[in-house]
Symmetry: C2
Subunit: 302 residues, 2 copies
């Protein structure tokens, strides 16, 4: 089932003619979850044919303009387009305050009700439904910031139809068997669950880590993640600037991917000082082999 990561913006604070500021959309079973909403996000949603009515949750990592300034326009468009369902913004108390005042003014009289889920810069589960869990990890930036980890929940076991037929297990019992129960036949014979089922589809996970300095303690919190987006604002040649400004180099991002045994590393949040994005890719690949260079329009399927 669908679990896709769409890159809508992988630039950083200073604008670049080729990159949008931060925005990523997770498509999980055709429900869209946006992470950060830099200026131009709504236009990029259109370009990438991501359907706004399917977007009900927006997760903000922190309150710097390049992660936020696309929100008023997006919410205005949602209001004008007739939103289906709720829209919830996950952000800090400050974000709720400042964003509410903007929406209250510019969306007055429009049919939209923006909900806020106030989060804090700590480890917590901030969203959960039957198949997905989203949790935060605090990051190390100049202002409070969190990363988000999207984890697919373990599904039910799969029925092994041939074995069930062989043991004469009736169809009405399948739901409980999928949930892990054994089956007791009318004559008292117990058929162990493992004989009637196969393992559930492996779960998949995505970690979105932006903006942050290199955090040695991060790897253990995202151990084994399938896809890690980790900001690569700078190259190692500017590691002093990265430290000073609360950002990471491509090599540091790759180090986290290596330490966390990530499946794949996705780069982004590029400083506009570099003219060739491939430098991020090259630097990261020297540390960790499985790197994909983030760019607008990229869609990765987990």
């Amino acid at each position: 089932m669908k679990f896709e990561i769409n890159v809508l913006g992988c630039g950083s604070a200073k604008p670049s003619p080729v990159h949008n500021p931060s925005c990523t959309v997770v498509n999980f079973r055709d429900n869209l979850f946006m992470i950060d909403c830099g200026e131009g996000a709504q236009k990029e949603l259109q370009r990438q044919r991501l359907k706004i009515p399917r977007l009900n949750h927006i997760f903000l990592t922190h309150l710097h303009g390049d992660h936020v300034f696309g929100l008023p326009g997006l919410l205005g468009t949602m209001a004008l387009s007739g939103l289906e369902g709720d829209i919830t913004i996950h952000t800090f108390e400050d974000g709720k305050r400042i964003l509410s005042s903007i929406f209250d003014y510019f969306n007055r009289g429009l049919p939209i009700d923006v909900k806020f889920n106030v989060i804090r810069p700590e480890e917590a589960v901030v969203f959960e439904n039957a198949s997905l869990r989203v949790r935060t990890v605090p990051l190390r930036h100049k202002i409070p910031a969190v990363g988000y980890i999207f984890e697919e929940k373990q599904g039910q076991r799969h029925i092994d139809r041939a074995m069930c037929d062989f043991h004469e297990v009736p169809v009405w019992a399948f739901n409980k068997i999928k949930a892990g129960e054994d089956f007791i036949k009318p004559d008292g014979t117990v058929i162990p669950n493992a004989m009637m089922t196969k393992d559930p589809t492996p779960t998949r996970s995505y970690a979105h880590i932006s903006d942050t300095s290199y955090m040695p303690e991060l790897a253990s919190k995202i151990e084994g993640v399938d896809l890690l987006f980790h900001e690569t604002t700078y190259l190692s040649q500017d590691s002093d600037k990265a430290k000073e400004r609360g950002h990471s180099t491509a090599a540091e991002a790759a180090k986290v991917a290596l330490e966390a045994n990530a499946g794949l590393l996705l780069t982004g949040h590029y400083s506009s000082r570099y003219k060739d994005d491939n430098l991020f890719l090259e630097e990261a690949r020297e540390v960790f082999p499985n790197v994909i260079l983030g760019k607008e329009g990229l869609r990765l399927s987990l």
Copy 2:
């Protein structure tokens, strides 16, 4: 001397994959004056190679999001880039209040001092220097709105060098003669100014009228304007929607251009419901012949 109109955004409230929301930049003698600042304006400035440090005045027509939501990002970039000189935003009291609160939060600690010139929806001169005057005209929209008229001031008369030499007028007297004075020779002979000078270069003017319903009384206020931008949100087939929403049709914009004896009409603020912008051009040209279809990247020199 340079007097150029640059179109940065000619879409309207609902985003379109081909148009940006409202933004126009007037380049008057290499000083940039922005009118409205829709989302994406700063990226479009970059694309069109308009130099942000030369921008010191932003005029807002009204406080709808599609005319305003590019401001926080643009101001943030200005702050990060090290602004030269002041930046003044001309807007209503409400705009000062809501925009200040956004800038105060997101630009805290950054070296930028945003000034506000509070305007009202009435006729007034809102900016003036030695060579340019900008005045407002109130428009008829769903919320208070003004249009802006940029008027080059009358320059000095030109010296007719041959005639001055013939009348033995000394060079030291030229400055006063340019300003319109006669010259009195040592023997008391008066040389009338008209004999020594030619008329000054004709002044040029630009009127920016957005957003508004058709206003019959507008023409007299912009009589003889060289270039008229008048919003053309709708086609006549949707004139009921135009009325209801405080907008104009292409035919109505052309009617204003005709009544005002405008030199040229520039269209824009297109509703995203129409798939072919040429329809605006065709409809307007039936009423007024000199129409240019506005599009992003267009630069008109007056």
